[in-house]
Amino acid sequence: MAESLGVEYLLALSAIGIYFHAIFVSITLGFPLAIMALLFAYSRTGASEYMRAARILTYVLSVNFALGAITGTLVEFGLVQVWPGTIAAIASFFLAPLALELIAFANEIAFLILFIVTLGRVRPMISILILGVYWVFAVYSGLLITTVNSWMNVPWGVATIPGALYPFLPEYGPLAVDAQKLVALKILLLASGLPLQDIIQTPEASNVVGIILNDPYLAFYSPYAWVSVAHNIVAALIVGLSIALLGFSYRLYKSKDVKYAQIIRVFYPILLILILIQPTIIGHYMGVNVAYYNPVKFAMMEGAYTTYHNPIIGFLAYGDPNHPIIGFDRFYASCREQTITLGELANSLGLTRENLLEISNNLGIKLDTQRLDNVLSTKVSDVCIGDLKSVESRIRAVNIAYYTKIFGGVIAFISAILLAGVMYRIPLVSSISRRLVNIIGRGDYAKSIFILTILIALGVALAAVLGWYVREVGRKPWTIYGLIYPSEVITVVDYARTLEFTIFASAIIIAINIAGIYAMYIVASRHAVFTQLLERSLSGRR
């Protein structure tokens, strides 16, 4: 494995950036649904509180969009800045999704500006249409970025290459890459101990390596990607709408003004439907895909140190109650069945020691031949077992995170149904809800709604935060599942791999984002005081 100094620091730094981005993206995706619903209600009733609520959400959306854009920039730039080895993947596997994302990003911004500029100046239905187009581009953007992330989780098109090292991994689609070149690069990384950046930054490196990918649209063919897209986007919509719900229910609780209950009633059905379908349909298919394509991650989620039987999980994950939950013992056993060396594996692809030395020479890599021989004589089983051992310590954490996430989801699910029973007349549900309201809110309607929305928001937040944790930590020890370690794509800049840099960068990210969130709160909660100066100036001009 390449020099690993700083990997943990920079993983933490990336996580901070991604989590902040996730908050803003959720609002970016969720708020427009609420705004459109409010504008629709306004167009039907003419009630001004709907328009006012839509405006407040629009102001928050505007500040939020700026924060989402910069955290997106941070995540993107951060990716190439501190993980520059990913540049090779961005220039190949990710290029089509990221290039198409430019369409989404540019049009998202153009239509958001058009919406802000024309809100209140054109008919509500036209505003809904403009915002609807914006929202479609925002969803499209989420689809493309999730496709990229999904490829790192399930590298579709590399077929049996990961399985050659880790026999418990499935086949990742038909082969659409140059296997010989990928394996040669991997062996050179192992033998040189250099991060990938050291190789690809050399002039002519790309020319020497040549074509590694035959189909630029490969990332879109993965079934795992499409389930992930649905799962992530619906999760973001739920988080965004839950924040809007929490804001209006807080206003209701503080003011006891029933207009806020009316505002909630307008968009709550959207949130309710999403909360109902996420775990029962989309989440289920997500789980099935993880169990099949990411077996190590699934074992970590289920805490399967050893293989065991659980008919419910077996049925849900594999469609067969008798199917065992495959644990690390089976993975180790399949690793031990591998008897070949890395050199023999390379030979089977037509790569000889001389080929590797020639490629290394052409790429300008100073290779220690002794180290190369050591790598080539390494048993595949040793690599396989070593990587499994490196993640074993995380099984407990991932397992707890996963079940806490499920717990959060259940809380949100039940609270959402109860809130529906309070807000609307639903046979049976409403009578149960109202009884519970009498207990938790002591008959205070506004307080009960506020408590239920807090439970929804907390449950949703737990599910989202820990869901992403499970997805990303469960991907380790690889950055690209079964292929590339984080230490192989890390920056070569020593300073960037220090704790000081991580603290410095984290402090800036946290400060800016907290300031931004506070500003969003001010925008949402304070009435504007028409400044005296402006008042005087305008009255003078009238």
Binding site: S62, A66, L67, A69, I70, T73, L74, V80, Q81, P84, I87, A88, I90, A91, S92, L95, A96, A99, L100, E101, L102, I103, A106, N107, I109, A110, F111, I113, L114, I116, V117, T118, R121, Q201, P203, S206, V209, I211, I212, N214, P216, T491, V492, V493, Y495, A505, A515, G516, A519, I522, V523, H527, A528, F530, T531, L533, L534, E535, S537, G540
Partner: protein, 375 residues
């Protein structure tokens, strides 16, 4: 490194062209927003200090430009990044190594700049004037941090100060790019240009308001920094002469000489018209009709300036004295980039420009964004 005939394939030419297009559009936008941001912050603060309502109204009216254009401007920065990584991955890998510090400065500046613009606008009237003025200065100054970082890349591509250390097999120090003899004259040229352009754009927009005082403010900044350019421009030109003969020859005697001449003519025209407008508003307190053309003249100058700053490197991606590093050295050979994908994306980007222009027209010309703060 090439000294002989350099072959550029159609794919490489497409990459170079798309990159150039994205850079030019981005530069046009930021040349407006950096200067406008600074002038807004100054006058919002002066309004607070002098209790001058008209200045606050001016600041708020001018800031509509930022609210409308900054995010769309930013998206072109992202487009540049994706185009760079997509077409020239080796160059990005190298830049993120040897220019790590400048790029970090630029990223931090972007992170401060964009939210502070939205915060500045939407908290107007909701927080104290002092706090609001402070946010304004943070917003304005952070904008200049972006070129402070990214201009090192442009400087290195024209004169490989840090790249040459790397190519010699050494690791350049973290701040080494800032010791480049080309960098600071380029940065000064950039800063003066954007403030001057911002001033002239404000003057043009304020003609629509028919307010002599507001036009005068725009003219003041436009002319002052245009005069500063009369020093910074020749200084940068001389630095190019001493450090990058290939570019100098292309601009002065080669295929780019007509464009360079056109740029100089436009600068003289801008100077003459702006001085005429200035004397008119100062002495006669009237706004002459030509004033509204100052912004539209300043922007092509920025376009031409940036074009002749970058295009003369062709067929090299980075210039090394009399020749350079050919485009192919850093080009993406990991996959064949489908030309159809590039054209589809360009088509949608043009569509987004049309939508944005409509929004900007409604906001700035039709006055859809009003100065009144809504509760």
């Amino acid at each position: 490194m090439s000294g002989g005939e350099v072959v550029v394939t159609p794919a490489q030419l497409l990459g170079f062209t798309v990159l150039g297009l994205a850079v030019l559009i981005h530069i046009i936008f930021v040349s407006i927003t950096l200067g406008v941001g600074l002038i807004t912050a100054v006058y919002r603060w002066l309004a607070y200090k002098r209790s001058d309502g008209e200045l606050e109204l001016f600041a708020r009216k001018v800031f509509r430009l930022m609210i409308v254009s900054e995010l769309f401007s930013g998206v072109w920065g992202t487009i540049i990044t994706v185009v760079l990584v997509g077409f020239f991955p080796g160059l990005v890998a190298l830049a993120t190594n040897i220019l790590f510090t400048p790029i970090t400065i630029a990223i931090v500046s972007i992170m401060i700049r964009i939210p502070s613009i939205a915060i500045f606008w939407y908290t107007w009237g909701k927080i104290s004037e002092r706090a609001h003025s402070t946010i304004g200065f943070i917003m304005a100054l952070s904008g200049f941090g972006v070129p402070l970082g990214f201009r090192t890349l442009f400087s290195e591509l024209s004169y490989p100060h840090t790249i040459s250390v790397f190519l010699a097999g050494n690791t350049p120090p973290l701040w080494y790019a800032y010791t480049s003899p080309l960098y600071w004259s380029l940065y000064a040229h950039t800063v003066f240009a954007v403030i001057s352009t911002g001033g002239f754009v404000i003057a043009s927009i304020m003609v629509l308001e028919n307010n002599v005082r507001w036009v005068e403010i725009g003219l003041k900044y436009g002319i002052l920094f245009l005069l500063a350019q009369l020093i910074a421009g020749p200084l940068y030109y001389l630095t190019i002469y001493s450090r990058s003969m290939y570019i100098f020859n292309n601009i002065t005697f080669g295929p780019y000489a007509p464009l360079f001449t056109l740029k100089l003519i436009l600068v003289l025209l801008l100077l003459a018209l702006s001085l005429y407008s200035w004397f008119s508003v100062r002495r006669r307190k009237t706004i002459i009709g030509y004033t509204k053309y100052l912004g539209p003249i300043a922007l092509p100058i920025v376009f031409l300036g940036e074009f002749i700053n970058n295009a003369p490197r062709y067929p090299y991606i980075a210039v090394l004295g009399e020749n350079g590093v050919p485009i192919s050295a850093f080009f993406n050979f990991y996959m064949n980039i489908p030309a159809s994908l590039v054209y589809v994306i360009l088509g949608f980007l043009i569509f987004s420009i049309i939508v944005f222009t409509t929004a900007a027209y409604l906001a700035l010309i039709r006055g859809f964004i009003v100065e009144k703060i809504e509760s």
